[in-house]
């Protein structure tokens, strides 16, 4: 193995009060593949952007073959020899696949009016190599999803970088395509390039990587061979939680036999990528149901379909009658209130203004009573009442988002990944509030989480979502035994 091509040291990035990447260090040698893994919000994507110069680091150093590049603009870093394979991109739609690849072969010149003769042959060769040979003259919009990803790979190859960063290499691909892509990434290793694969879990990249570095809350928590990292105590705790306590209640199904919410055969496509496949799910009145799955599994898509925000195939029934065709606003008024992953607070309004906005449609006395009850549930919000929402900490913002959703007096509260990017101590506060909510009210909750430790203690029933499908369902106490292993 040759010397280190990429060396990262003490890399730190803060967004306001949030430390996204903290004192991160690693190195990759030529001909080596490093997996950078971590749950959603752990800072791995930010780390990749810092290396590429898309985000500016607050501190630390990035060296390419010994040369410091941390303060360079992105295009200069790219010219120096780092390539990034984007997960999503906007290709040139009026040009053919071949022209899209040619673009990556052009010099950064204002005065080059025609590409050199050799460029065409080179672009064709690269297209053949990634398996686009048959579609070179087609336009990107007519290609299946996997071919679009191939095109992104081709563009990175065209630049012939020494270091290749790949963002979620296998997201949205079928098993056969994963095999194909793995072979292409291995060919980078054979060419002596240094490769960084960024992904959510070890399992996905284990077969491909030489080493794995696991991140959580911006910090490195483990590094080593894939199987060693999978056995690592800290990693297991982050992904599976330590000892999971469960408090499942037996919720009797409705006497009528019609569940509060039922989805059948629910499928969603984003362009060519299938985000949800034939999902069947029931939520009974008064139940707390957790949908567990990694980022990209389809949780948010499922919730958005239920809330009527995106088109879908199949059916969503609310108290027995289909929701299809109703506007998102009508669905929310009907009692399904979603608290989105992105929180969507009004940053320049105070805490109390945000809450009152949620209770707009209620008469004033009812609104006041509800506000008092919420202050009891989240005491911190009472003391922060006059503060602007965007000045709150991440945990407080999440509590405000949940409280605002509760102001709308929902019959079904959908919580999408409330723990995203929160520190463990905040998780505990949030967890207590949810426990109180469950004990003191008859509310029905549908929770989407990748953090199993957070999702399981409150749940009466659990669904596991993986690659757009529900692969397991059952009571939370059987989760660790039956579904936990596949989750790392």
């Amino acid at each position: 193995m040759s010397a280190n091509l990429l060396e990262v040291e003490g890399l730190t990035k803060r967004f306001g009060g949030l430390v996204a990447v903290e004192n991160l260090g690693f190195s990759i040698a030529g001909g080596e593949i490093l997996g950078l893994i971590g749950p959603n919000g752990s800072g791995k994507s930010t780390a990749m952007k810092l290396i590429m110069g898309i985000e500016r680091a607050n501190a630390g150093s990035v060296r390419l073959a010994g040369r410091e590049i941390v303060a360079w603009p992105t295009h200069r870093i790219a010219r120096a020899g780092i390539g990034l394979v984007f997960q999503h991109s906007r290709p040139l739609h009026r040009q053919t696949v071949l022209e899209n690849i040619k673009l990556a072969l052009l010099p950064d010149s204002l005065f080059q009016l025609a590409a050199e003769k050799s460029v065409d042959a080179k672009a064709r060769a690269i297209g053949e190599r990634v398996g686009l040979g048959a579609v070179l003259d087609r336009r990107p919009a007519t290609l299946p999803f996997a071919d679009l990803r191939r095109m992104e790979l081709a563009k990175a190859i065209a630049r012939d970088p020494q270091v290749v960063l790949v963002d979620e290499p296998f997201a949205g691909l079928t098993m056969a395509e994963v095999e194909n892509f793995s072979a292409l990434i291995r060919s980078f290793r054979e060419e002596g390039k240094a490769v960084l694969l960024v992904d959510h879990n070890v399992k996905g990249v284990a077969a491909l990587v030489d080493r794995v570095l696991a991140m959580y809350l911006g910090k490195r928590i483990a590094e080593g061979k894939a199987d060693a990292v999978m056995r690592d105590e800290t990693v297991r705790r982050v992904y599976l939680g330590g000892k999971i306590e469960t408090h499942a209640r037996a919720i009797a199904p409705e006497k009528s036999g019609i569940p509060l919410l039922r989805t059948e055969d629910l499928s969603v496509f984003y362009g060519k990528a299938q985000a949800l496949a034939q999902v069947a799910l029931d939520v009974h009145e008064g139940e707390f149901v957790s949908v567990v799955g990694l980022n990209g599994a389809g949780k948010t898509t499922l919730f958005n379909a239920i809330s009527g925000l995106i088109p879908y195939a199949g059916s969503v029934r609310w108290q027995g009658s289909p929701l299809a065709g109703q506007s998102p606003a009508a669905i929310a008024r009907g009692g399904i209130v979603q608290c989105p992953e992105t929180r969507e607070l009004f940053g320049d309004m105070s805490v109390v203004e945000n809450l009152e906005l949620g209770g707009q449609h209620q008469p004033a006395p009812a609104r006041m009573a509800r506000l008092e009850w919420l202050y009891e549930l989240f005491p911190i919000l009472k003391s922060r009442r006059a503060q602007l929402a965007r000045t709150l900490s991440g945990g407080e913002q999440q509590m405000l988002a949940i409280a605002r959703a509760l102001m709308m007096n929902p019959r079904l509260l959908i919580l999408d990944e409330p723990t995203l990017g929160l520190a463990p101590v905040i998780l505990e506060q949030l967890s207590k509030a949810l426990a109180r909510l469950r004990e003191t009210t008859a509310i029905t909750v549908l929770l989407g989480e990748q953090n199993v430790t957070f999702a399981l203690p409150h749940a009466d029933r659990v669904y596991v979502l993986e690659h757009a499908r529900i692969i397991w369902q059952g009571p939370p106490d059987r989760f660790a035994v039956e579904a936990g292993a596949g989750y790392l």
Partner: protein
């Protein structure tokens, strides 16, 4: 095939002075200069992905610089070239800081630039003629046919150059920068440099066309070359004709100006009807007329 059609169309257009009235020629002459404005604007919007709400800032600079020089006895063609250079310099001065901003702020800056230019012209009325306008002593030609030919030749040459640029390797990079700036940078392209160059080219053609227009009209006034509404008309023309086509922008301009003339008997309603047509096209054919035809061709 396309080239044959283009040559035939060009011959027909060039023959107009032989059999059409001076009035129609005059309308088309103005329309051709507007065509160059719109093509320059499309290079920025369609390719670099930047919305320039102030095309008339560049046009006005070119027009007034040329007009003022003419009033000081500088020969016509030298004034025209100086006008183009003035627009180029002004464009650079504007774009250098403005392109650092993201999203709608670039557009807002360009809008403010127009208002400032307008104020400057009004305040220094002693030099610029203020709201009444600047009288130009010289003209390109007194013959309507020759004026028409000059405008047509200018439109065709500008169109070929801008179209060629948009189809060149540099144009491909510019499109990539406009569509996904981060990815373009990750592919090693200095996005700021390419966008600045596009702005400079757009400024050069706008200034040149503005300068030639005042020598045709014999006057430079805020209402004809600087006012925001003129800029809006150029933008509508470019979008109407088809974003990212260059040629569409020229066709859109001719359509808009000719339609305005044909509907002149409607009086006050004329502007309304033309705007309504433009609105319908933009709502239902967001790719514009030429863009729509091209897309149909692509699917076939």
């Amino acid at each position: 095939m396309r080239i044959v059609l283009a040559v035939i169309a060009l011959l027909v257009l060039a023959s107009f002075p032989l059999w059409l009235s001076a009035y129609i020629l005059a309308v088309l002459t103005v329309a051709y200069y507007f065509g160059v404005f719109a093509m320059g604007w499309d290079l920025l919007f369609g390719f670099a992905g930047e919305v320039n709400f102030g095309p008339t800032f560049l046009i006005g600079l070119g027009a007034y610089a040329a007009g003022l020089l003419d009033n000081h006895g500088v020969p016509v063609w030298l004034s025209v070239i100086a006008g183009a250079i003035a627009a180029l310099i002004g464009g650079f001065a504007l774009a250098l800081p403005a392109l650092r901003l993201r999203g709608p702020y670039f557009g807002l800056i360009t809008l403010v630039a127009v208002l400032m230019l307008q104020q400057v012209i009004v305040i220094f009325a002693g030099v610029t003629g203020g709201e009444i306008g600047l009288t130009i002593n010289d003209v390109l030609s007194i013959d309507p046919g020759r004026n028409y030919w000059i405008a047509l030749a200018f439109l065709v040459v500008s169109g070929v150059l801008l179209y060629g640029l948009s189809r060149s390797a540099a144009g491909l990079i510019l499109q990539a920068a406009g569509q996904d700036a981060i990815e373009a940078q990750a592919l090693g392209f200095n996005v700021a440099k390419h966008k600045l160059a596009a702005f400079a080219v757009s400024a050069l053609f706008s200034g040149l066309s503005g300068a030639m227009l005042v020598f045709y009209l014999g006057t430079a006034s805020v209402d004809t070359v600087v006012d925001i509404s003129v800029g809006v008309q150029i933008i509508i023309a470019a979008v109407l004709g088809g974003r990212r086509t260059i040629v569409g922008a020229a066709i859109g301009s001719v359509f808009l100006i000719v339609a305005g003339e044909i509907l002149r008997p409607l009086g006050q309603l004329n502007t309304f009807v033309v705007s309504a047509i433009a609105l319908v096209v933009i709502l239902f054919f967001p790719d514009g007329l030429v863009g729509y035809l091209l897309r149909r061709g692509e699917r076939a």
